[in-house]
């Protein structure tokens, strides 16, 4: 297998409720920026991460649509769907295609257009990431599943609503320094706790928003990367793992088994441990997921995620800065684009291009992208070359 590098990245100017832009506008804008950033004159193949263009916009077969509108047909293009982990899963497939020698220049893009439907339809579309027949049918929503994880985490480990809120407050703070972020505003623990309840104990400010947006990266063999880019970033590990689909079928209601399994593989591939990671983008679709993930990715002990987060260990100047981009909470969560955008944040950090939110001397970063209530996890480790 060949080593693979990221040589160009692109996103929209700012994520959010982008009423003037369609799915194809969003995607093509980000993809063109990635192509220009890498300085390549063609791509060999494309992976499009998109969770639910069907339920959100009525459009399927978006791989072909987007290859057409990007002007790259007849190259092969395929859509990758694994709910909110679509982006991470697409990145792994792009990595595999370059690593295997099948292609040299691969574009991995992600997109979601979520605001063409009302809130209730969006809730339904997202609930389709759960086991529809045995969870959603019985009235549980996506925030509801995470709320049940949160309730159980509080019961087993004494985690508090304030500790959950601390993740949101920290991510909003980081987001104020990210021009792409949907919500660039400071909040406090009190604002979170006084915000409206979505699914007890989760408030609206514990939840990532509905967002329109896209993100794209260009991959190439590491030994050719410097032809295009003076500071390419190496993909040192790429791993995906699955777990029981329904939360009630999991061995533990408070452990994200797919994250543990994918991280274990990724750490082994990169030959490093959690102590050697300088920063991490983790899938904070809800505050409780960030609390569980800092545990399950090995940054702290099981059960200590709340305390760890509240202590500032995951802040920009903490022991392991988590979600320097603002995370899904503040940057926004256009589902299919999220996993790709996480890699872009780490890419920028490793190149020293993260502006006011720069982690000094960052050499190695981890991205964790999750689908459903944990049915899929993708973990990537990126390194300076």
């Amino acid at each position: 297998m060949r080593e693979v590098a990221i040589i160009g990245v692109g996103m929209n100017d700012r994520w959010g409720e982008l009423w003037e832009k369609s799915l194809r506008d969003l995607y093509v804008e980000a993809a063109l920026r990635a192509i220009d950033d890498a300085g390549v004159d063609h791509i060999d193949s494309m992976y499009v991460a998109c969770m639910s263009s069907g339920l959100f916009t009525g459009q399927e077969h978006v791989s072909s649509l987007l290859a057409d509108y990007l002007g790259v047909a007849p190259i092969p293009a395929v859509r990758v769907e694994s709910a909110c982990a679509s982006g991470g899963n697409a990145l792994r497939l792009g990595w595999l295609e370059v690593a295997s020698g099948a292609s040299d220049l691969v574009l991995v893009g992600g997109v979601e257009k979520m605001t063409d439907v009302d809130g209730s339809q969006a809730t339904l579309a997202l609930a389709a990431a759960s086991d529809f027949e045995w969870e959603a049918f019985n009235g549980v929503t996506f925030p509801g599943l995470y709320a049940m994880m949160a309730r159980r985490h509080m019961h087993e480990f004494g985690t508090t609503p304030e500790q959950l809120a601390a993740a949101s407050v920290k991510n909003h703070h980081n987001g104020t320094m990210n021009p792409v972020a949907q919500f660039q505003m400071e909040i406090t623990v009190e604002t979170v706790l006084n915000s409206v309840l979505v699914a007890d104990p989760l408030h609206i400010l514990d939840c990532s928003p509905v967002t329109d947006g896209a993100a794209a990266v260009i991959l190439c063999p590491a030994d050719q990367a410097k032809k295009f880019n003076s500071q390419p970033v190496k993909i040192a590990a790429s791993a995906v793992a699955t777990d029981a689909m329904a939360l009630h079928s999991r061995e533990s209601l408070v452990t994200i088994g797919s994250a543990k399994a994918a991280a274990e593989k990724a750490y082994k591939q990169a030959g490093v441990g959690p102590g050697e990671i300088d920063l991490a983008e983790v899938h904070d679709c809800f505050t409780i997921s960030e609390i569980c993930l800092v545990e399950d990715l090995g940054f702290t002990e099981k059960g200590k995620g709340g305390e760890f987060t509240e202590s500032g260990a995951t802040a920009l100047d903490g022991r392991i800065p988590v979600n320097t981009s603002g995370g899904l909470k503040s940057k926004g969560h256009p589902v299919g684009a999220t996993g790709v955008a996480q890699a872009i944040e780490v890419y920028k950090q490793l190149r020293g291009e993260a502006g006011k939110r720069q982690v000094k001397g960052a050499k190695r970063g981890l991205c964790h992208n999750m689908g459903g209530s944990g049915g899929t996890s993708a973990v990537h480790i990126l390194e300076v070359m």
Partner: protein, 129 residues
């Protein structure tokens, strides 16, 4: 939704029909063709108990379209006596007073309806025991 989609699940939704792996004893609801624990393809047909305990719960305040008329409502993951777990709405309760570990009983109820003129969907909910 079509009638067939609902009809096909009648045994599980109305009678909690489940399967126990003959290889390792793991209980599956719904049943499966292969055990994820031991790989066995031999199962014994069983019915889950109608008594159980709440493992965790929440109160849904932002519902999908099918449940807007009864919001807020409680949902729980319930561990049933003798094995098997279900995710179910908790009916006939004060959602503010639920607790982890609380005993509940499974009951047959209407779950939702496919629009104003569509099929009514029935299934299981739990109520405080």
């Amino acid at each position: 939704m079509t009638v067939a989609r609902i009809w096909r699940e009648r045994g599980r939704r109305y009678r909690l029909e489940a399967a126990r792996c003959k290889g390792c004893g793991k209980v599956f609801f719904p049943g499966r063709l292969v055990c994820d624990k031991c790989g066995s393809r031999e199962f014994e047909e069983i019915r889950l108990s109608d008594k159980g305990k709440i493992l965790t719960y929440t109160v849904i305040r932002v519902p999908p379209p099918a449940h807007t008329y009864e919001t807020p409502y409680a949902v729980a993951i319930v561990e049933l006596e003798g094995g098997g777990r279900i995710t179910a709405m908790v009916a006939d309760c004060d959602p503010e007073k639920l607790e982890i570990g609380q005993n509940v009983r499974v009951v047959f109820r209407k779950i939702s309806q496919d629009g104003e003129k569509g099929i009514k969907f029935y299934g299981y909910k739990v109520v405080p025991a």
